[in-house]
Amino acid sequence: MKAFEYASPRTEREVLELLSADRGHTEILAGGTDLIGLMKKMIVKPDRVVSLNRVDSLKTIDANSTAVHVGAMVTLEDLADNPICEFYPAIRQAIGEMASQQLRAQGTVGGELCQRPRCWFFRDKRGLLAERGRAVEEGDNRFHAIFGNRGLAKFSAPSRLAPALIALDARVRILGPNPGDETLMPLEVFYRTPKSEREREHTLEPNQFVSQVILPHPEGRVSASYEVRHGMGPEYPLVAAAASVLVTGGIVREARIALGQVAPTPWISREAIDAIVGLPINYETAEAAGQAAVSVASPLSHNEYKVQLAKVAVKRALLKAAGLETGGLS
């Protein structure tokens, strides 16, 4: 690991004062489960690491009548254990799938949402876009994107929490660049597909950070996450989907459906949403929504199998949200 200066601010204002406007100079440290590995491999080489671990204001979960505010430094374990998750089963299920006590106790909400892609070309120091997309196109792309992959970026968004939070219509609170600056944005707007190596997978400037996730009251919506995994270990799912639906009189009035591990950003499926709204959730309609979701897929040379998995994940997330048998393992 390259030597760096370590800073451990106590307040959000001090964090902003320590972050540099130049990309690459400073990195934010949360639980460290992703960042420390990236630094050991010299994929990121900051001059200064700004730890959020002593900023107590980032560690709280507060609920009022309209929303729940989850601090960025709340650990995944503490979030899943919190009684508010009764109202957001998609969150508890997404975290519950992470089979490592250590990573759940150490990993934080902010770090989980901002973790870097697992793309092996990126992790092999060949860049986020992996040689302007060529390495992925010509190489082993079995875990790469099947949607939104026509530009240079072809990695798949790694967060397991993001699809659930997007389905639940969460927003993020972003602080900076200057003390007092604050932006609230829907989580799906926070992510963007980078077009050059200078861009990241999200819209944060290097001197901004995520301070909170804000969950609207579910107002009767039911939700679920469904992951298709290769095995039971602390591995990433191959594909994941989350759904949040408002059902009255047996008919879906509103739906939000998001997929993970399938595109360079968490992927909202408009097609699946349009296919299910106005209908009851049953095996046939859920399957049709899955089919609609993958109607716009553009798999690469080695990941056609993910199209089928995405279809199944959408179907099962909807069935699970409705409390029906999914036909899967969980």
């Binding site: 200066e5 489960t33 006590q101």
Partner: protein, 161 residues
């Protein structure tokens, strides 16, 4: 001359102070600076759990924790489990159930098992397998480890009566 930071922390109930570089992991400092070589280095990247210690009661991979971050923390390592030269019940059960061969994974498994049993004194077999999935063993095939954790749960329940 590399700048070192002074860190004051508590390890296995004893106050400890050390100097470290910002880039050193807690695992490195435990093993190389403090001579606490019970915690093992397997992968050094969060995959194997051989380096698991309890940080403020929570199981963490110490290879992914910066040593400078533990200022003021309470750390428990495998060296802290036995009391008055008597093994902790989990250690004793690992021995009796032959839940180890080369032993590299054992300290991490025992710390993880301790974290699990502290939270859930009577876990199902499924829960044990799931919660310990962040610990890898290349020798035993896991079944004996699971049995040792089940036996530990029984023994600890007996002791707490």
């Amino acid at each position: 001359m590399v700048r070192k930071t002074h860190v004051a922390t508590t390890i296995n109930g004893e106050p400890v102070e050390f100097l470290c570089e910002a880039r050193q992991s807690l695992l490195e400092v435990l093993r190389e600076t403090l001579g606490l070589t019970g915690s093992k280095e397997g992968c050094n990247n969060g995959n194997c759990g051989a380096c698991t210690v309890l940080l403020d009661g929570q199981p963490v991979d110490s290879c992914l924790v910066l040593a400078v971050e533990v200022e003021g923390a309470q750390i428990t390592t495998i060296e802290g489990l036995s009391k008055d030269s008597r093994l902790h019940p989990i250690q004793q059960c690992f021995l009796e159930d032959a839940a180890l061969q080369c032993g590299i994974c054992t300290p991490g498994f025992i710390m993880s098992a301790k974290a699990l049993l502290d939270r859930d004194p009577n876990p199902s077999e499924h829960a044990i397998r799931f919660q310990l999935a962040g610990n890898l063993c290349r020798c035993t095939g896991y079944d004996k480890i699971i049995r040792a954790v089940q036996d530990s749960a029984k023994r600890m329940a007996g002791q707490n009566k």
